[in-house]
């Protein structure tokens, strides 16, 4: 009897602990909604349509519906929302094909003896801290873009509007490339694992019909792993949307204008929250804190939708080893 009681207690205590995951999500969303309420009341939909961010930190305090804010301050998320979406979009355009290519190399082309060290490098790629990617971006990628790639693009494609005009040192293209690198290991490792699960019999049937290796990959392996690959790309998108430090270092820190070419400086929601650390303290009305909470809430909503879709697509089954979990 005492034993039975012990088991029951153990069960319910661990049940509460596992429920912490649920509680945390609700706490995060609850806190963000609660904190962004003043901004929602004062600025309403202007928050989503304005491209100007001007906190008027030195002005005087006005009141709207009893809520304190700086007179004449404008807060528009549009520049940062655009930056987030565009940089992640570029990251997907470049990163997803490259990552799926890497996955095909690992699962289908490279011999096992070569595939495992490459896999290790790829796993390391997932483990390198975001801020180090950013630092590398400043030291290597941005100078390269400025001196070579962007100049080349703007010379050879000057008739295409998005590739023409002045070349900046850090901006949209640099952010997109860095993000592409960072999402590659996520997409590649999940896609590789999914491709490796293709039943050997299906591939052998293809071989017996005289298909070449690429035809087997294209007509048998890729269709078999398609859902998981799309899911992994969605997971990569979720990561890119919320990526902070790397982008903060190479985005160029734009504010109050929208990018017109691939070379423009941009800013993303995640990076901007980092840059606004000081404003959170220096705004005498405290409105900046509320507006940033609203921005965080918007980012949270976007990444959550993307991640939920991704989770539904990536089949649960093949995440079976603890060390594979980390990229997912």
């Amino acid at each position: 009897m005492a034993r039975h009681l012990q088991d029951t207690i153990y069960k319910y205590v661990t049940m509460c602990l596992s429920g912490v995951a649920l509680a945390l999500i609700f706490i995060i969303i609850g806190v963000l909604i609660d904190s962004s309420y003043p901004a929602l009341v004062v600025y309403g939909s202007k928050f989503f349509t304005s491209i100007t961010w001007n906190a008027e930190l030195t002005g005087s305090i006005c009141y709207t519906s009893g809520i304190a804010h700086m007179c004449g301050a404008t807060f528009g998320v549009l520049v940062y929302l655009t930056g987030t979406l565009l940089s992640s979009g570029i990251a997907l355009l470049i990163g997803a094909p490259a990552a799926v290519g890497l996955a095909i190399v690992l699962a289908e082309i490279a011999p096992r003896r070569l595939a495992s060290p490459i896999s290790f490098v790829m796993e390391l790629m997932a483990g390198i801290p975001s801020v180090i990617y950013g630092f590398w971006g400043i030291l290597v990628l941005v100078p390269y873009l400025k001196s070579t790639l962007e100049v080349g693009l703007s010379h050879s494609l000057s008739s295409v509007p998005i590739f023409s005009g002045a070349v900046f040192s850090a901006g949209l293209l640099a952010s997109g490339l860095i993000l592409a690198l960072m999402i590659t290991p996520i997409i590649a490792s999940i896609s590789r694992d999914a491709m490796r699960q293709t039943p050997e019999g299906l591939k052998e049937a293809g071989r017996a019909l005289g298909l070449t290796d690429w035809e087997i990959t294209y007509k048998v392996v890729l269709p078999y792993a398609r859902t998981s690959i799309i899911g992994s790309i969605a997971l990569g998108l979720g990561r890119a949307l919320g990526e902070t430090m790397a982008v903060a270092l190479v985005c160029g820190g734009a504010s109050n204008f929208l990018p017109k070419t691939f070379f423009y400086p941009i800013n993303t929601m995640a990076a901007f929250i980092v840059f606004q650390l000081d404003a959170a303290f220096t705004d005498p009305s405290g409105m900046s804190i509320s507006v940033l909470a609203e921005m965080a809430l918007l980012l949270m909503a976007i990444t959550m939708i993307v991640n939920v879709v991704a989770r539904l697509l990536v089949r649960r089954g093949f995440v079976s080893r603890p060390e594979n979990l980390i990229q997912v």
Partner: protein, 316 residues
């Protein structure tokens, strides 16, 4: 569907009984060429994607070994920004601060996560609640770390008035580690062979005993892998710490409250903008140390522990 082989070819074979070599699939040469071309393209793509990692490892190993010295490892960053070319200043405060914050956060996240995982693997029978928990754990793992940092700032720094502190930073990082620990524990426990548990059950052990004495022991390598990899993520986090830990030039072991604390990623993020050689060198050194930590953790987790778990499995 069109047949893959030339029909005339097979007819000829039947009529004349002459052997004209193996039957060639249609467009054989073109398809072979395409096969080679795509393979080459994929290999080029793989090399292009992996090149930056190799470059990152090489660049920072090279720079790091240039700037590393004993004094830089045992002195604090106080005075590092001075324009004196022989300025003192090292990373002791940041190294110890990172270890302190990450140590504290695993003290919070590991017990919660491991026993949460025990429920999912051993008690839940995959009921509705457990699938909801799994789903939310996955969602939590996908929340951008800057959001965790900002919520930590709103709740801990402002509302609970902890100010910038190691404790606040550790709580935020533990939120980051928690979902990984839960899921890694669950997966590791589910890989423990049922035979062992059933044997113990047949001998009259209680469920509690089986979990604590058998399952957790056999799952230990997997659990440790999960914990180590989530530690390596925490060590490299910057965004959540900016809003919760601040930064300090001095070593402090005070967890709470209104006491800022140093950490390595801050040095990487900010010191390269300080126009003195020493500060820039320190940001290279901090990068080098971070990569070293991540590398060691990854090797231990993926190679060492995998071997350990294989040993355990072979003894069953």
């Amino acid at each position: 569907m069109e047949p893959d082989r030339e029909p005339t070819n097979s007819v000829q074979l039947q009529d004349s009984f002459s052997f004209e070599g193996p039957v060639r699939p249609r467009n054989y040469t073109r398809r072979k060429a395409l096969n080679l071309f795509v393979k080459g393209l994929l290999i080029v793509a793989a090399v292009l994607v992996l090149y930056p990692v190799v470059d990152i490892l090489y660049l920072f190993a090279y720079k790091g070994l240039q700037v590393i010295s004993i004094s830089r490892l045992i002195e604090t960053t106080a005075g590092a920004a001075s324009f004196n070319p022989h300025a003192a200043g090292g990373l002791a405060n940041a190294i110890l601060g990172t270890l302190f914050i990450v140590g504290l956060s695993s003290m919070i996240a590991v017990p919660l996560g491991v026993f949460g995982g025990v429920y999912l693997a051993e008690f839940s029978n995959d009921n509705r609640f457990s699938s909801i928990v799994r789903f939310f754990a996955d969602v939590l793992a996908g929340v951008p770390s800057i959001i965790l940092g900002y919520v930590g700032f709103l709740v801990l720094v402002l509302r609970f008035n902890l100010g910038y502190s190691a404790l606040g930073a550790a709580i935020v990082l533990s939120v980051l580690m928690f979902p990984y620990t839960v899921r890694a524990t669950e997966l590791a426990l589910k890989r423990v062979p049922n035979g062992i548990k059933e044997g113990a059950l047949a001998l009259g052990s209680s469920k509690t005993t089986i979990i604590n004495r058998l399952s957790l022991k056999f799952a230990l390598p997997g659990i440790l892998t999960g914990i180590l990899l989530s530690l390596s993520i925490s060590v490299g986090e910057t965004a959540p710490l900016l809003y919760t830990a601040g930064f300090s030039d001095y070593i402090n072991w005070t967890a709470c409250c209104h006491t800022q604390i140093g950490y390595l990623t801050y040095v990487v993020f900010t010191f390269y903008t300080i126009p003195t050689t020493n500060a820039i060198d320190l940001s290279y050194l901090a990068t080098f140390l971070l990569i070293l930590i991540v590398l060691v953790i990854n090797i231990v987790a993926r190679v060492g522990l995998r071997r350990l778990s294989r040993d355990l499995e072979s003894r069953i």
